[in-house]
């Protein structure tokens, strides 16, 4: 009989005695599950709805119209000289992606508790699949955005597309990681304290108004601008506008600090998530 510690494939231990790292190789083995979850989210959500996938478009269109009327026409907020619809839509589409990844992945443990109670797979598979299925949605909405963008390119000379547009995919990555990082942290904490769920819904909603979505960052200066830049989404939205329109506040330091915050959030989120995933089922 060979009972050497080394040849065990799997060792299950109490939570406190070891902090098993999140093994990336484990998640790679479950990549098919991720793609099937994405497929399911995409296919199943709009079944038996009348408008079906049109909902992907409807939500940003309606929000853009309301913002244009309320903030643009009624409140007369500046849009940096850009056509109002493209200005608002750029912010809305990016923010939606961030907030949906955050909110959905923060519900991982609660929404999946019946599955998690019966089967083991790396729990991180779920937030990762949320990142990707919402990325598909973001892709669809960006197509809509660029349709509007193209319209203004042709009919006005306010927008000049440049090769900068090609950098946009790079900007999506930090949004995904930031949303997931926050979501993981909240997920780990809501296991014990459900109150947080309401707080987060509320907080994300409020945060939207302290990000440069309804106003350009250039409208604000001094300490207030620094405060708004503390929201890591601010620099990213501004950078997006710079890439699209050549208009907006861009400083490397803004972007760097935003990326820094993203990685800290992600690391903290992963740590607490890994800790919570081992016993959350006893409390949920």
């Amino acid at each position: 009989m060979t009972n050497k510690e080394k040849d065990w494939d799997l060792v299950i231990e109490p939570v406190s005695s070891s902090m098993q790292a999140l093994r990336i190789s484990q998640i790679w083995k479950y990549r098919d599950l991720i793609s099937l979850f994405v497929h399911r989210d995409f296919v199943a959500v709009y079944k038996q709805t009348i408008l079906g996938p049109i909902w992907f478009f409807l939500q940003p269109i309606l929000t853009t119209i309301i913002f244009t009327v309320v903030f643009g026409t009624a409140a007369k907020l500046s849009t940096d000289g850009l056509p109002k619809p493209v200005f608002y839509m750029s912010g809305i589409v990016l923010w939606n992606y961030f907030s949906e990844v955050l909110l959905k992945s923060s519900e991982t443990f609660i929404a999946y508790r019946y599955i998690f109670a019966k089967v083991y797979f790396p729990r991180l598979v779920v937030p990762i699949s949320i990142v990707f299925s919402n990325m598909l949605k973001l892709g669809v909405q960006l197509i809509l955005f660029f349709a509007v963008y193209l319209y203004y390119c042709i009919t006005t000379d306010l927008i000049e597309p440049t090769w900068h547009l090609l950098l946009i995919p790079l900007l999506i990555v930090p949004i995904a990681l930031m949303g997931m990082g926050c979501g993981l942290l909240v997920a780990a904490l809501t296991v014990k304290f459900r109150d947080l769920k309401f707080m987060v819904n509320f907080a994300v909603d409020l945060l939207k108004y302290v990000s440069p979505i309804i106003f350009p960052l250039s409208m604000i200066d001094g300490t207030l601008q620094t405060l708004i830049l503390l929201n890591p989404m601010s620099a990213i939205i501004e950078t997006f506008r710079v890439l699209c329109f050549g208009q907006g506040e861009f400083e490397w330091i803004y972007l760097a600090s935003s990326l820094g915050m993203t990685f800290v959030l992600l690391a903290v989120g992963l740590f607490y998530f890994a800790k919570a995933e081992k016993t959350f089922i006893d409390t949920v």
Binding site: I12, P14, D32, F37, K118, Y120, K192
Partner: protein
């Protein structure tokens, strides 16, 4: 001896009872303070043995305590014990759904656990999509599922509905499909929990056969948790018995089943008849207890074919005497098909006068039943008026024994009765 593939070493799991709420934050803080001062968790000491019938002050309880055992490759291990004995907790730890509070589990090879069939199936997706989704949740890759897809569909018997959303399926079809996916999961160690309790009789047999095949011909290791003693006996090579969270017996599956039968399980069932909500009665005759005894007068719920069995019923009536009292114990199989009626009139006639209270016994000397689970419906009539009816009042399990003394037993699939028979050649 073959290689040990699963080793459970002193595993314990503690749960907190009662409501989760504000008090918990205080406990967490206290626990944290102890930890940073390098002391042991103060709540680990507080726990008591898990006996749900006794009230205790402690809010913490050990669902399982200090469990150790090894499983060798190719073994089919039964985990048995009454409800609340810690079986499910043990399974949850082995299948990594929750972590143990103390102790270590080590294993070799891929582990697949089947605590439920059809986990994660989505009602809006088609059967095909769900086979892939469910398979991936259980740990298979897309290529693996594609390779086995035809076999899975074939085994489930749902080929016609494969492109229909699962919400249009009958519940039985969903179960079949779930089991079919699971049956083609090929882990080195497989954990199965009571999944056999679902589906119709035909499908259950199919499922048992499949599991036998997995264990016997493919040489994989299986851990099987069930209340179905017949299945345990026919499938498993070894068993462990849990009681109140502790491991109380390890041995061959047969011995384990016997040990389980001898354990004081009947305490749970004893009062069952008196408090059943589904009883139909006039109140003139009350039944306080109904149970089974062996020849020695011990309460049992597991018998061997050919054993002597006594069915006993305690009753009380508001009437002074009870002439024309008809008592019937109707024997059913697990599917509800009637098998035989044991009726006092048929043996004693109708004239006997019963006292206002007492114990009625119906004895069968040599139980002519093959392995299986059998249910009793109780009907009591007085002067042709129905006074008491309780369906599925109690059940007992019959295990195979060498009824005919030749070492051969007919297959229970082909019939449940064991008839006296003579064979001759001329």
């Amino acid at each position: 001896m073959s290689k040990i593939v699963l080793s459970v070493e002193a595993v314990s799991k503690q749960y907190r009872l009662g409501q989760t709420g504000t008090g918990m934050l205080m406990h967490d803080v206290n626990r944290w303070v102890h930890r940073i001062r390098g002391k042991e968790d103060p709540y680990k000491k507080l726990s008591v043995v898990n006996d749900r019938t006794k009230v205790s002050d402690s809010k913490y309880v050990w669902a399982i305590r200090d469990i150790s055992f090894d499983v060798s490759q190719g073994e089919v291990l039964a985990i048995i014990g009454k409800n609340g004995s810690g079986k499910s907790t043990l399974l949850k730890i082995l299948s990594r759904i929750t972590s143990p509070t103390e102790g270590v589990v080590k294993m070799r090879g891929r582990l697949g656990s089947l605590l439920e069939v059809g986990t994660g199936m989505h009602p809006e997706l088609t059967g095909k999509e769900n086979i892939f989704l469910n398979g991936a949740i259980l740990g298979m890759t897309k290529t693996e599922i594609s390779r086995k897809f035809d076999d899975i569909v074939d085994f489930s018997g749902c080929a016609r509905y494969i492109d229909t959303p699962v919400k249009r399926y009958s519940s039985g079809m969903i179960v079949r499909m779930g089991f079919a996916v699971a049956a083609f999961l090929e882990p080195e160690i497989l954990i199965i929990d009571e999944v056999l309790a679902v589906g119709d009789a035909e499908f259950q047999l199919k499922a048992i056969d499949k599991m036998k095949q997995v264990a016997e011909t493919e040489g994989r290791t299986v851990l099987f948790v069930s209340h179905n003693m017949t299945a345990v006996q026919s499938l498993c090579t070894r068993g462990i018995l849990l009681n109140n969270g502790a491991l109380t017996y390890t041995g061959s599956a047969e011995d384990c089943v016997k040990e389980y039968g001898d354990a004081n399980y009947h305490e749970v069932r004893e009062s069952a008849v008196a408090v059943r909500p589904d009883v139909i009665k006039t109140g003139r005759i009350e039944v306080s207890d109904f149970w089974f005894e062996n020849r020695e007068g011990e309460r049992k719920f597991i018998f061997m074919s050919g054993d002597s069995i006594q069915m006993k019923l305690n009753y009380k009536s508001s009437l002074d005497e009870l002439p024309f009292l008809s008592v019937s114990f109707a024997l059913h199989d697990a599917n509800g098909s009637p098998l035989a009626e044991l009726w006092n009139f048929s043996v004693e006639g109708a004239e006997k006068v019963y006292p206002p209270s007492g114990t009625i016994t119906c004895s069968i000397n040599s139980l002519p039943l093959n392995a299986g689970r059998y249910y009793i419906n109780i009907t009591i009539r007085h002067r042709n008026q129905m006074d008491y009816l309780l369906k599925h009042a109690a059940y007992f399990d019959v295990l195979q024994s060498d009824f005919y003394g030749q070492g051969f037993m007919p297959n229970p699939k082909f019939g449940q009765f064991l008839l006296e028979q003579n064979w001759s050649t001329t």
